[in-house]
Amino acid sequence: MSSAWLLNVDDNRDDALLLRHACKKAGVRFELTTASHGAEAMEMLWQARTQDGRLPSLILLDLSMPVMTGFEVLEALRREPTTRGLTVAVFTSSENECDVAAAYGRGADYYLSKPSDVKQLIALMRGIDEAAAASQDHPWACLRTFPTYKVHKQGQ
C-alpha cells in the first residue's frame, strides 16, 4: 500500500509554498501535491484514478480561486460516485459565516482557517501526518481537535 496522499488546492503560490515548507519542517511522510485551481485539481483526480486508481486521503481546498472555485469543486466531487467519499477540508482565510455555511452546505467535511503563524501551520501538518499514519480510514479527528485553528463542523 502506497503512502497517504494530501492534495492541496490553492491558487495562492505563497500559501502553497508555505504549506510545502511546513510539511518539510514537520517531516511528514505523506505525499503532497498542489493544484493551482479547481479545474487543475479535478484533472489531477481524474488522471490519478484512471492511471492507477489512486485517490487522495485528504483534500485541502481553498475557496476563492480562478477557473473553478472551491464551492464548484465541492459540488463536482460530491456529484461523482467515485469521489463522493473523499475527505475534504476547506482551507481558507475567510472567516465569513456565509462561506462557512455554504461550504458545509455543499458537502465539506471540515472548515479550517489558514493560520497566520508558521509554527501553527507546521503543527497542523504534523497532526495530519500522524492521523494519516495511524490509519488510512482515520476520521481526521486531529482537524477537529487541533487547538489553534477555528474548526467549524456542521452541527457542532
Partner: protein, 516 residues
Amino acid sequence: MNSPRVLPSSPLNPASLIAAIVEGSQDAIIAQTPTGIVLTWNRGAERIYGFCAEEMIGKPIAGIVPPDKADELPRLYAELAAGHALQSIETARVRKDGRRIEISLTLSGIYDEHGKLIGFSSIARDVTARNQAIADDRRRQQLLTDFVENATEGLHWVGPDGVILWANKAELESLGYSAEEYIGHHISEFHADEPVICDILRRLTAGDKLHGYEARMRAKDGSIRHVLINSSVYFEAGKFVHTRCFTRDITTRKAIEEELRTAQEKLRQQAEELEKEVSKRTTELRQTVQSLEGMCYTMAHDLRSPLRTMQSFAQILVSEYGPRFDDEGRLYAERIVASANRMDQLIRDILEFARLSHTDVPTESVDLNEQALFWERHFGDEIQARGAQFKVQRPLPAVAGNRLLLEQVFTNLIMNALKFTSPARRPEIEITGHAEGGFAVVCVRDNGIGIAPEHRERIFGLFQRLHTSEQYPGTGLGLAIVRRAVDRMGGSVTVESDPDHGSTFRLRLPLAPLEA
C-alpha cells in the same frame, strides 16, 4: 239739550239720576258759563286736576289750560255755538301740582227751555298714560322694524307653501334681487341645491329648528353664495304662519376656508414629498455607509492575506536563516516581523471596529465582579512586571450588556492604563462602580500621564494617536472600539483627566434588570 229718557212708569227722578252719574264718574265732568266760569266740579275733576270743587267753582276754567292752548276754549265755544259737535278732542291741561296731562275732551252746549245757550258741559278723561303707552308701542315697533329691515344679517319669512312672504334689505342686497324679484317667489328658485331646500322645508314643517344649516343660494348675477341658515317656524294655534329665517352670507369665509384647506393640503403634500425624499436619501445614505463599511471590512480582510504571507516568510527568515545573518541582517529581519505583526494587529482592530458597527449586539445581565476575576488573571503577569497596583472595589453593579463587548471594553481600558504610565509614579489602577439613576457608572482610574483637555474628545476617534509608536505603541483604535462598543450597548463613555494625577474613564451602562 234733552233730559235723559226714562221709562215713564219708573219712579226714577231724572235729576237725581244725572247727579248720581256725574258724581260717580271717573271722568272730569264740569259745567261752565258761556264765558268759561266754572259752575260745577265733580269728584272726577278733583281727581284728574288736583283742584277741589271749592277751589274752582266760580273761577275761570282757563286756569287749568296751559298757555300754549290759551286760544283753544274760545275757539271751541265758538264752534259749539255754531252747532258743531265736539267729541274726543285730544288736548292738554295743567294740574294743580303743575304737571301737564293729556286729556280726551268732549264738549256740549247747555240750553234753557227756550233753547238759549246758557253754558257748556265738558267731559274729560286723563289719557296721559294711554298716550304714553301708545307712543311707547309705536317706538318699539319702529325700533323693531328698523332692526329687522336694517340688520346686516339676511332675514326672511317663508309661508307654508314655500313662497317668500317678506325679506329684509340685507337679504336682498346679499343676493342682488329687488323686493319684487324675490318676495312672492318660491324659495327653492333661489337655492342651488334642490335636495337641500327640500330638506330645510321638510324639517321646518315638522317643527325642527335649524342651527347653522349650510346651504348654497343663487344670486341674481348667477354667482353662488354660501349661507348659514338659522330658522324656525312661527306657529299660530298649531298653524304654520311663516318661517323666521336668518341667513348669514359666509361666502367670503368659505372662500378663505377653501384657500386655507388648499394651502394646508399643498403643505401636507409638500411635507409628504419632503418626508419621502428624506427617507429615500436616508436609505441611500445608509446603503452607501453600509457598502463603505462592507468595503472597509473586505479591504481589511483582503489585506490580511498577503500580510500573513509576509509574516510567515519573515518568520521563516528569522527562524531558519537567522543564524546565517550577521547582527544587522537579523535586526532587519526582526523589524520586518515586528512591523508585520503591528500591521496585523491594526487590521484586526479595524475588523473588530467594523464588526461592532454592523453586527447585532445581544445584551444580557453581566456580573462585572465575575469579569473582574478575568481582568486580574488576564493582566496578572503585566501588572506584576510593571510593579503596578490593581484594585477592584467590589461589589461592582451588574449591567445589561454584551459579555464579549464588555470584555473588550475593559481589556482596552486596562491595557491603556497599564501602557500610559508615568515614569515618576508607581502605576495604580482602580476600578469602582455604583448605580446612578438607572445606570451603572463604572470608573477606570489610573495615575498615568493623563490627557490634555484639548485631546479628551479626540482620543475616542478613529486612528487618533497622541504619541509616537516608539513612546507608546498602539493602533489608535482602542478607545474608538471602546466608545463604539459602549454606544452599541446603549451607554456612554467620558474621560476626566489631570496630567499630574492621571485619567478616569467613566462608563455609563444600563443597569441589569432586577432578578424577578
